[in-house]
Amino acid sequence: MTTDRKTLLSGFMPWRTSTPETTKATAAASNELTRAEPALRPKGDDMNEHIVKSYEDELALLDRKIAQMGGLAEHILAQSFDAIERRDPKLAEQVVKADKQIDQLEREIEEQVISMIARRQPLANDLRHVMAALRVTGDLERIGDLAKNIAKRALAIAHESHPKPLMTGMRHMGDLALAQLKEVLDAYAARNADRALAVWRSDEQIDSMYNSLFRELLTYMMEDPRSIGLSTHLLFGAKNIERVGDHTTNIAETVHFLVRGVNIADDRPKSDDTSSTLFSKS
């Protein structure tokens, strides 16, 4: 099973073989795929194999697909950041295209989950496994959509000048979101609830970064009304990144549920107060 994995992955991920303009982020994302490989054998050492071999195979396939989907989501998210930063319409279009692949994978996983529930009636950790797969898939699909959305905004503002400080802020936020996503996918692959919990806690950082970016953009727009168009696009981009963070925490919650069998008990720390800062004029 281990031998045919590379060929299988290369079929799904053409960028693994040819990396034309890999930035740091996409390279990291590709690395992530390599690291995500343990997900192909998610059963810990303490887990016996199923008596029904095909059941085992199906569960493994589910994880493999999620790993692929996660890798893909990371990849296009990084690409969408690059597209905004470098004002690269071509890259942005690639992202839009790649999102279709994610949607396709989501459909496949959904179908498989439904068929497994119908045929195998999974119980206990298998049930959580299948349900987690469904939830993670949903979140990843949304992250793909958000990446696509960011890419579209990159297309829209491709020909405008980008104010440096704002772009740096965006980039930071994006990198953080990407790192979180990577981490949570790792946690999923490794079935590590503690790491997931850490991701879940640190979403606060993204929220606060979004807060400050929000304020900054507001100030910027007030100072220079001509930049309202650009700023709005950037604002939505930032919002999308913040949403990616939310989906990442969702995945973290799912991982926690998958491993421990219970939902995270306490409320998540929240720092997004932008909904109440609309009229604040510092």
Binding site: I51, L127, R128
Partner: protein
């Protein structure tokens, strides 16, 4: 159903069985067949008005334990039971307690439908008759009708009460057996894999019946079907090699068992 947050499900069901006094309490029950020990210090509390499921691989002792509760094991000469089982704080292994009296309080439904080779009426009337629960024919008729109604069989057989019980279909026979058990108005009903010989529709009918009966009886069911245990029971105990490995609310057992053996068994990973 599955999308409901597990924690809220747990909260909803966790309280009910715990709050009330348990109906059947087993403490350190061990069973020996000659030299061989079949049960090792089994202790469990079984709540009233609910369904308790025993699951576990074959030969794990779940049926043996079930048969301790109405002392059916007494019929096996080499079988020896130690420990204490009480029903409503009354020790059922007390020498002064009459085992026939006990079995009137603890009804039993068996794996294979086993109606007497007599008429449907006689099958149901047998228990009340030997226990003298009715003083007249009219009273007996009423008991029979009520029992058959409770077993959801009355509509199907009311016009042929004098037909042999063995002429019914498997599912009907099993419901007849349930009616027979219900007729003596027991407190506890033991069911030893009641659906293992039935088709899915008949099984569903029995499960629906169990759901009804749990309003009035304490039901203990041994089953090999995990799904069935998950469907009908509120609490589940997992037996393995003569011990209760894990016992708890059914949702918990089937969603997030704490013991690895339970997990392996219910997910089909037993080595």
């Amino acid at each position: 159903m599955l999308n409901v947050e597990p924690s809220s499900l747990q909260r909803a069901t966790a309280q009910a069985p715990h709050l009330q006094e348990p109906k059947v309490v087993a403490k350190d029950v061990s069973v020996y067949y000659g030299e061989k020990r079949a049960l090792f210090d089994v202790s469990v509390n079984i709540p009233d008005r609910g369904v308790m499921a025993f699951i576990g691989p074959s030969g794990c002792g779940k049926s043996t334990f079930l048969r301790c509760i109405n002392r059916m094991n007494d019929t096996i000469p080499i079988c020896r039971v130690t420990g204490k089982i009480t029903i409503e704080n009354e020790d059922i292994y007390d020498p002064s307690l009459d085992v026939v009296q006990l079995r009137a309080r603890v009804g039993m439904v068996f794996q294979k439908p086993n109606p007497f080779p007599k008429s449907i009426y006689e099958n149901v009337a047998y228990g009340p008759r030997i226990h003298g629960l009715s003083s007249s024919k009219a009273e007996l008729d009423e008991i029979v009708q009520k029992s058959l109604e409770r077993a959801a069989l009355w509509k199907e057989v009311k016009d042929r009460l004098n037909d042999p019980g063995t002429g019914l279909s498997g599912g009907q026979q099993q419901r007849l057996c349930i009616a027979r058990a219900v007729a003596v108005n027991p407190e506890v009903i033991l069911m030893d894999e009641p659906c293992s010989a039935l088709d899915p529709i008949a099984t569903a009918k029995i499960e629906e019946l169990i759901d009804e009966l749990k309003q009035n009886f304490c039901i203990i069911i041994v089953t090999h079907s995990m799904q069935q245990a998950a469907r009908v029971s509120q609490r589940t105990a997992f037996f393995h090699l003569g011990v209760i490995v894990e016992e708890g609310n059914t949702e918990e057992i089937f969603q997030n068992p704490t013991d690895k053996r339970t997990q392996d068994y219910i997910t089909g990973r037993f080595g």
